[in-house]
């Protein structure tokens, strides 16, 4: 009988939702719009390639004849530097600084380089000066631009240093042979020692770089996987919060609560039915978003039935859906009507979706706001889902997060039971 009653609520709510265009928009269309925006506007196909910067160069150095290192060589090296098969800098030469600065200010360039007169002479015989202007097309690019050109200039300086050391050694050897002071055994050891020492001056540290983790994030399919889970999280938050907060008010406002309470349905079965029917709706929406993410935009989302960790995904989706509804029930404490509860749920849900590491990565947020993501259990659940479905992290590594999630779930359930006993039951039977 109880199962039939719960089934009745689930069927009713599914029919209501699938006949309500506004509800469908918020449950399915709105998160899908975001997934497609990410896939085709923010990260379009082919966009996740190594960084390439537009560089403007003004060259005041005209005296380059007969020199080993010239400003022309510098510009040529700059133009031909590659990273992962692509050119790192797209170089454009300017006649004057005014035009260069103008393009930087208008975001047409990432970097500006001003090569002063006598650059080649100073580079060959001493220390050359150069001015670098750092542009910024968005809030993150200034630091990226700085890091990239700084790395290039350091590498360029080191290589010039090595070449200068080689030239010096060549002259040293010639000089020793010419003066007849060359003792074959002793001097070859000395020259070798001096050579290594001079190389050390030019290149004191030789670092080896290996990419380990960034592959997961740099890959477009993985990024889309991350955002597909994010879209599900966003939908869970605003829909779950508002449904959890407003469901009981909604039954009362529609006049259905009176009839339901006169039936053999007990208040506790009523609450359980409403929660379960909303969980089913949220799960159906989540599955639609996952399928669209995988087959619609090519998101990298895995489900391997042979991997035990992957069987956690339906459970975690269920947990995330319940957490959203459960927090919504807590929010109902702060509302007095269906409209108030609904508005509070949607507003807070959207706010947290954008600030608590659900839709935007938490690293984009100011330090203090990152605390929201640190202590928000829905974020933990979604991050664990991402770790399983997008990054295929093993079960052992997930255990600490799973424990945190389990504790949070128990706390939310206890709070919901307390609220049900202290307020919701009273509200239901307060006609």
């Amino acid at each position: 009988m109880k199962a039939r009653q719960i089934y009745s609520f689930i069927v009713r709510d599914l029919k209501i939702v699938f006949s309500d265009k506004v509800a469908l928009f918020w449950l399915i269309a709105w998160p899908l719009i975001w997934i497609f925006m990410v896939a085709y506007v923010f990260i379009p196909p082919g966009s996740v390639t190594p960084v390439s910067l537009d560089v403007g160069v003004v060259n005041h150095d005209t005296n380059t004849t007969g020199l080993n290192f010239t400003s022309k060589d510098f510009i040529e090296i700059l133009s031909n530097t590659t990273y992962k098969g692509g050119k790192l800098f797209d170089v454009k030469e300017y006649d004057n600084e005014t035009l260069l600065v103008d393009d930087l200010k208008h975001g047409r360039l990432d970097l500006g380089i001003i090569i002063p007169a006598n650059f080649s002479i100073n580079l060959t015989f001493g220390t050359a000066n150069i001015t670098v202007l750092i542009g910024a097309r968005d809030i993150h690019s200034a630091s990226i631009n700085y890091a990239v050109i700084n790395a290039f200039l350091n590498e360029f300086s080191r290589r010039i240093g090595v070449v200068k050391a080689e030239i010096t050694m060549m002259y040293l050897e010639k000089s020793m042979n010419y003066t007849g002071q060359y003792n074959q055994t002793l001097s070859s050891e000395l020259i070798d020692y001096v050579r290594r020492y001079m190389y050390g001056i030019a290149m004191p540290l030789n670092a080896t770089y290996k990419e380990v983790k960034p592959e997961a994030y740099a890959n477009r399919a993985n990024i889309l996987g991350w955002y597909t889970i994010g879209a599900i999280g966003m939908m869970l938050l605003y829909s779950g919060f508002s449904q959890g907060a407003a469901a009981m008010y909604r039954e009362k406002a529609a006049g259905t609560l009176r009839r339901i309470l006169a039936s053999p349905v007990t208040p506790s079965i009523l609450v359980v039915s409403i929660i379960l029917s909303n969980i089913v709706i949220l799960l159906i929406s989540s599955i639609i978003l996952l399928i669209t993410g995988i087959y619609g935009v090519g998101a990298h989302i895995l489900f391997n039935p042979l991997n035990p960790a992957h069987w956690l995904t339906p459970i975690l989706l269920l947990v995330a859906a319940y957490m959203s509804l459960g927090i919504g029930i807590i929010l109902s404490l702060f509302a007095k009507s269906e409209h108030g509860a609904d508005s509070l749920g949607v507003a807070l849900g959207l706010f947290l979706a954008f600030t608590a590491g659900i839709w935007f990565p938490r690293s984009w947020m100011p330090q203090w706001m990152q605390l929201l993501a640190e202590y928000f259990p829905v974020t933990w659940t979604l991050d664990t889902l991402r770790n399983i479905m997008v990054y295929s992290i093993g079960l052992t590594e997930l255990i600490p997060d799973l424990l945190k999630i389990a504790i949070a779930l128990i706390v939310i359930i206890i709070l919901d039971i307390i609220i049900y006993r202290a307020r919701l039951k009273k509200y239901i039977t307060m006609y």
Partner: protein, 308 residues
Amino acid sequence: MAILLVKDVVKYFDSRRVLDSVSWRIENPGIYSLLGPNGAGKTTLLSIITGIIEPDGGRVLIKDSKPSNPSTRMIIGYCPQEPGLIGNLSGYDNALFYGRLYGLRSRDIIDRVSKMGEKLGLSRNDLRMKVGKYSGGMKKKLALIISLLHDPEILILDEPTTGMDPGVRREVWQLLLDLKKMSKTIILATHYMEEADQLSDRVAIIDRGKIIVEDKPSVLKEKYGPKTVLQLRFENTINNEVIGVVKKYSDKYYVNERIVKIHIGEPEKYVPELIGELYSHGYRVVEFKLVKPTLEDVFLKLTGRRLE
């Protein structure tokens, strides 16, 4: 074992006492009306009887069992004043939802709704339509059908015919009389005097949270009704000047457009006097007659107010 036992029930909303030591007992199947004006406490009393809310004092038993008991609710059919229907769903879907709460199977629900719908003039096409497109009368019919889905022994109806046109109202009355023949107990809250008078085996008159009298309609009229009710029909709508004249003869009267009914003693003496005075003020009485007292007259006599 009483079908319904209401004993000294008290209910407060905030500090307002909406039911004041209400007692009511129903022993046999039949139609029992709860007659009273809006705000008298009818809906609150029905909510307590159906177990939707708990009383603050006293007790309610249905066949010796508490109404909040799910097994008791299985024998109760309740049709609230607001139909409680979901506009986005069809008539059938609404019925399926509520029917399943009583453990009914989908096929049985569809069969019963279709049959009862035919009886009350709701076709299968109507039942396939979204309830949001229904008229007020259609919604009331569907709400009534839904409350009968599980074939309850006791049917509790809160203003079931409010908003219905007279023809449909008669159809519903006939349905209730048919149910009575099937030994059902029907508890009917209404503010329509005629409805209570024509359908009920017994009527409980409720006012300001108290049941003031309860008996058969004929007994109520005989016992508490006025001896004489004078009905005057005027050519034009009745104004304050007419009322002023009427008040000189009785403080118990009620007006309905061009008709005024007056509780009047010694009619042979006062009727000619009253009509003469009205005539002298320029008001022509088109028709006057002495009529039998109704339950409205009983209510007026007992409370000094109209049943509205």
